[in-house]
C-alpha cells in the first residue's frame, strides 16, 4: 500500500494496485458523514473501433453503445440494482462521457454492503435480447429530452463542427436510429473488452478507513476470477488541423439566439505532467482573456452582447481537445466579432502580463482548494486525471510554476488559422 501525504492540502491518499490490475484509491475526509465511491472504466463513447478481447480484427460497434451498456449494467436476473442500493441507504448513479463510464454510490451507513453491491453489479454482466429491447424505449426518451435542450445541442453541435473524423463528434448516447441496432452480443463484446479490472479505477472518498477499505476490495477481487490482463487496441481515424465546418445554424424554440465559438487543439498526443501544464495553462489564458475581470467581459456585458449564460471552457483528452466560448445573445454577429478580435489580438500581439498571470494563478489555486470540499469533485476529477497519467494533487504545484511562455504555447495550440467554428442557434420565428 502506498500512502501519499500532501502537506499543504492536509490530505492523505492511499493507493494499491491489485494482482488483477485494478487500481484502488482511498482518500479519507475528516468530519464528513458520507462516503462517495466510484468504479470507473476507461471506456467511453469515442471507443467505437477496437479489437475485441480474444479477436484479432478491428470491429466498429453501433453509436451510443457505451452509454447503452451503462444503462443495462443495472438490470440483473434477480431485478434492478437500484433496489438493493436503496435498501442499504445508498444513492446510486452512473454516467458515460467521451472517455469514461463511471458507476457510483454515496452513502452515510452500510459502506461495505454498498461497496460489495457496486463491485458485484459492475463485474457480473447480464444481458438478454429482451432486456436490451426494453431499454430502447427509455433511452429513446433520454435522447429526445436532450434533443429539446438548446444548450446541449449547441455544445455538441460545436464539437461536431470542429471534428471531421474523430468519434468525439458523435453524440454520446447515439441517436434513436443507431441504438436500434444494438444487441446483447454487442454489449457482451464491449463488456469483455473494456471492463477488465486492469482498465478500471476504484476510488472511495469521505468517511472511510483507508486500510479497511483497501483490504475489503482486495478480498473481494481475490475470490472472483478474471482472465489475464491484455492491452486494449483502439483505433482512431486521422484528424486534420482544421475544423470540419466553419459555421452552422440551427433553429429551435428559444427565447434568444445563442452563439458558441469552438477552437480545436492541434497537439493532443500528450499525457502526464505535460498534459496537466497544457490544461491549466489553457484555463488560465481563457480566464485572463474572457474572465469576469477581463476587458472583454466589461465591454461585452456593458454593450449587452452577453448575459449570465456566458461561459467558456477548455477540454483536453488524449486524441482530442478544444476550447469553447459562448453566450445567449441578441447580437450574435457582434459578439462573434468581439470574441474573434480578442483571440486574434492575442495571437498577433500577445500581451499577457506577469501581473495578470499572478492574479489568475491565485484565483485558480483558491478555486481548487474550494473544490476539495467536494467528495464528488475529488473522485471524478482524480479518475479523469489518472486515466491520462496525471495527478490531481499536482494541480497546485503546477499552477505555482506556470510561466507566460507556457500560456502562449497553450494558446497557440488551440487558436490558429482555420481551427475554429461558429455555432448559432436562432429562435424558430427568425426562420420564417
Amino acid at each position: 500500500m502506498n500512502k501519499i501525504h500532501f502537506e499543504q492540502l492536509q490530505e492523505t491518499l492511499y493507493h494499491k494496485q491489485l494482482a488483477n490490475g485494478l487500481n484502488v484509491y482511498v482518500l479519507p475526509k475528516e468530519g464528513f458523514s458520507k462516503t462517495y465511491v466510484t468504479f470507473t472504466t476507461k471506456y467511453g463513447s469515442v471507443d467505437r473501433t477496437f479489437i475485441p478481447r480474444g479477436g484479432n480484427e478491428l470491429v466498429t460497434v453501433p453509436d451510443g453503445i457505451a452509454h447503452f451498456l451503462e444503462h443495462k449494467m443495472f438490470e440483473k436476473e434477480e431485478g434492478d440494482v437500484f433496489q438493493k442500493f436503496s435498501e442499504n441507504a445508498a444513492a446510486a448513479n452512473a454516467f458515460t462521457s467521451f472517455t469514461r463510464t463511471s458507476y457510483l454510490f454515496s452513502s452515510t451507513t452500510e459502506l461495505y454492503e454498498n461497496t460489495k453491491t457496486l463491485l458485484d453489479f459492475v463485474q457480473q454482466p447480464y444481458f438478454t435480447e429482451k432486456t436490451v429491447e426494453k431499454e430502447k424505449g427509455i433511452i429513446a426518451q433520454e435522447i429526445t429530452m436532450y434533443d429539446d435542450q438548446a444548450d446541449w445541442r449547441q455544445y455538441f453541435g460545436t464539437i461536431e463542427n470542429l471534428f471531421e473524423n474523430h468519434p468525439v463528434r458523435i453524440d454520446i448516447a447515439g441517436t434513436v436510429e443507431t441504438i436500434q441496432d444494438i444487441t446483447a452480443d454487442h454489449l457482451y463484446q464491449c463488456y469483455e473488452t473494456f471492463y477488465h479490472p486492469s482498465n478500471m479505477v476504484f476510488f472511495a472518498v469521505g468517511n472511510v478507513d483507508p486500510e479497511e477499505m483497501l483490504k475489503f476490495v482486495e478480498q473481494d477481487q481475490l475470490v472472483k476470477s478474471f482472465e489475464d490482463p491484455e492491452p486494449i487496441v483502439r483505433s482512431f481515424p486521422e484528424e486534420p488541423d482544421h475544423s470540419d465546418e466553419k459555421r452552422k445554424e440551427l433553429f429551435m424554440d428559444v427565447s434568444k439566439p445563442k452563439l458558441m465559438i469552438g477552437s480545436k487543439c492541434r497537439n493532443t498526443n500528450m499525457s502526464g505532467k505535460n498534459m496537466l501544464i497544457r490544461e491549466l495553462a489553457s484555463d488560465v489564458t481563457l480566464d485572463i482573456l474572457f474572465g469576469r475581470s477581463s476587458d472583454f467581459f466589461t465591454e461585452a456585458y456593458n454593450q449587452g452582447l452577453i448575459d449570465e449564460s456566458f461561459s467558456y471552457e477548455f477540454n483536453l483528452e488524449n486524441g482530442f481537445g478544444f476550447a469553447a466560448i459562448g453566450s445567449d445573445t441578441e447580437k450574435p454577429e457582434q459578439l462573434e466579432e468581439l470574441i474573434l478580435s480578442v483571440l486574434n489580438d492575442a495571437k498577433n500581439n500577445w500581451a499577457i502580463t506577469e501581473e495578470q498571470l499572478e492574479r489568475i494563478r491565485k484565483k485558480r489555486i483558491g478555486l481548487f482548494m474550494r473544490a476539495l470540499n467536494s467528495p464528488e469533485y475529488i473522485a471524478n476529477q482524480f479518475t479523469h486525471y489518472n486515466f491520462n497519467d496525471m495527478n490531481l494533487f499536482d494541480v497546485v504545484p503546477v499552477l505555482e510554476g506556470l510561466t507566460l511562455d507556457q500560456l502562449k504555447e497553450a494558446f497557440n495550440d488551440f487558436y490558429y488559422e482555420d481551427g475554429q467554428t461558429v455555432m448559432t442557434i436562432r429562435p424558430t420565428e427568425q426562420s420564417k
Binding site: G31, F82, Q83, D307, K363, G366, R370, N373, E400
Partner: protein, 429 residues
C-alpha cells in the same frame, strides 16, 4: 448545530466553528413579504449590489479584488419560501491555513468587501448608478425569459400558473419582465433602504474561524440600524376551494418530447404536524429510483426516461413530472394515477417503506457535507425547531407507518393534468 446570537430584534447571527471544510463561508439573508413588485426590485438590487461598491466602483475592479483573495466567491441571489422573499448575499474563501502564505488575511478582507457592498454601495449623488441599474434590469429580464429554453422547467412553471395564478406558489422570485422594467434608480434606493431597515436578517458564518471573536465584533461589522422588523406572516393555505374539477390542458411548442406533468394539492404543508409523513409518501411514490413511478412508468413500461414526484411543502402541492412520447399521454397519465391509487389502497410493502426511510436519511445527512447545505437546511428547519438536527427528523420518519402513508395519499386532490408537446405530435387528434 449553529450557535445563535440575537444582535437586535429581527437580526440574528448563527455561527458554527468546524474544520470540516477548507473554506470559510458567510451568508446574509434578508427576508421580506413576497409580491411581484418586491421580487422584481429586490432581484435587480441583488444584482446591483454584486456589481460594484464605493471602494471598487467598477465590475472589473471588484472582480480583480476577489481574484486577489484567492478566487473568493461573492454573489447574491433571490429566492422565495411560502410568501417570503429572501435576498441572500453569499461569500466564501479559502482558509488561509491552506495557503503558502498563511499571513494573508483573506477572510477579513472578504468580510470587509461584503459589508461594504451592503453599507457603502456604489452610489452616485445618493442614488445607484443609472447605467448599472439599466444593465442589471436587462440581465434579470433575460434570466426570467430564459426559463422558456428549458422545456422541463417551463412546463412546470406553466402548470403552476394555470392552477395558482397570481399566488406565491406560481410567482417567480425574480418578478416578471413587466415589473422589472418599471424599476428606477430612485425606487431601487427605496428598496435598498427598506431592506436594511425593515427586513428580518439572518447571518451565517461557518468554518474554521474564531466564531466567538466574530460574534463580539458583529455589531460593529454589520451595523444594521435598529428598526421595526416584522416576520412575514404564514401563507394561508390556498386549498379548500371545494370540489375542484381537475383541469386538463394541452399546450404546444416546437419541440420533440412531450412533458406530462400532474399537480395535486394537499392541506399538509411544511409546518403541519404530518409533514414528515408526507415526505415519506412522496418518497414511496416518486422521489427515488426504487419508487413506484420509476419502477412502473420507466422500468416496467419503458414510457419515460424520467418520471418523478416532488413535494412543494411550502405551498401544499405535489407535482409529478415526466418526459414521454406525446402519443402515450393517456396511457402514462393513467399509470401515474394508478400508483397514487395503489398507495391510497395500502399497496405498500415494508421494503418500500424501509428503502424510502433509508434514502431520506441518507440525503439529509449527506446534505450536511457541504457548507451551503448546512446553512440552507438549517435556515429552513430552524423555523420548526431552533435545535434542529438531522437525527430528529430521521426519528420522525422512522415513526411513519403504512397507514400514515395511505392517509397522506388520501389527502391529495388532483388539480391538473398538463401536457406540453411538439406541434406535429398531436396532429392526429
Amino acid at each position: 448545530m449553529f450557535q445563535k446570537t440575537e444582535l437586535q430584534s429581527g437580526v440574528n447571527l448563527y455561527t458554527r466553528q468546524t474544520a470540516q471544510f477548507k473554506t470559510v463561508s458567510l451568508a446574509i439573508k434578508f427576508t421580506a413579504p413576497l409580491t411581484e413588485e418586491t421580487a422584481a426590485a429586490r432581484t435587480v438590487l441583488a444584482n446591483v449590489l454584486e456589481d460594484s461598491t464605493a471602494q471598487y466602483p467598477t465590475r472589473t475592479k471588484l472582480r480583480q479584488a476577489l481574484e486577489e483573495l484567492y478566487g473568493a466567491v461573492f454573489y447574491t441571489d433571490t429566492g422565495k419560501r411560502g410568501n417570503e422573499h429572501i435576498l441572500t448575499v453569499y461569500a466564501e474563501c479559502v482558509n488561509e491555513e491552506y495557503l503558502r502564505n498563511p499571513d494573508a488575511a483573506v477572510f477579513e478582507q472578504l468580510l470587509s468587501l461584503v459589508t461594504e457592498s451592503l453599507f457603502a454601495p456604489n452610489l452616485v449623488n445618493g442614488e445607484f448608478d443609472q447605467a448599472i441599474v439599466e444593465r442589471e434590469k436587462q440581465t434579470v429580464i433575460d434570466r426570467i425569459g430564459s426559463v422558456y429554453n428549458d422545456k422541463t422547467r417551463f412546463a412546470n412553471k406553466r402548470m403552476l400558473e394555470l392552477i395558482r395564478s397570481g399566488e406565491p406558489a406560481s410567482q417567480s422570485a425574480y418578478g416578471t419582465e413587466q415589473s422589472v422594467s418599471t424599476v428606477t434608480g430612485k425606487s431601487l434606493k427605496d428598496t435598498y433602504d427598506r431592506m436594511l431597515k425593515e427586513d428580518t436578517i439572518d447571518i451565517y458564518i461557518l468554518g474554521d474561524v474564531d466564531t466567538d471573536q466574530l460574534t463580539d465584533r458583529a455589531h460593529t461589522l454589520l451595523p444594521f440600524a435598529s428598526g421595526s422588523r416584522k416576520t412575514v406572516s404564514d401563507l394561508k393555505s390556498s386549498e379548500g376551494k371545494g370540489n375542484v374539477v381537475p383541469k386538463h390542458i394541452r399546450e404546444k411548442q416546437d419541440m420533440k418530447q412531450g412533458k406530462l406533468n400532474l399537480a395535486y394539492s394537499t392541506p399538509v404543508t411544511f409546518k403541519h404536524p404530518d409533514y414528515p409523513k408526507m415526505q415519506m409518501m412522496n418518497g414511496v411514490l416518486g422521489g427515488f429510483a426504487h419508487s413506484k413511478l420509476f419502477i412502473n412508468v420507466r422500468e416496467k413500461e419503458s414510457l419515460a426516461y424520467y418520471c418523478s414526484s416532488s413535494y412543494a411543502s411550502q405551498y401544499g402541492l405535489l407535482y409529478i413530472m415526466s418526459g414521454i412520447d406525446a402519443n402515450e399521454e393517456e396511457k402514462t397519465a393513467k399509470l401515474i394515477e394508478e400508483q397514487i391509487d395503489a398507495i391510497r389502497e395500502g399497496s405498500i410493502t415494508d421494503l418500500e417503506i424501509h428503502q424510502t426511510l433509508s434514502l431520506l436519511s441518507n440525503s439529509i445527512r449527506s446534505a450536511f457535507d457541504s457548507a451551503k447545505g448546512q446553512i440552507e437546511i438549517y435556515d429552513q428547519y430552524k423555523l420548526l425547531d431552533e435545535d434542529f438536527s438531522a437525527n430528529q427528523l430521521i426519528e420522525k420518519w422512522k415513526m411513519v407507518t403504512k397507514e400514515d402513508i395511505q392517509n397522506m395519499a388520501s389527502t391529495l386532490t388532483k388539480e391538473i393534468t398538463y401536457l406540453l408537446s411538439g406541434r406535429e405530435a398531436i396532429d392526429h387528434e
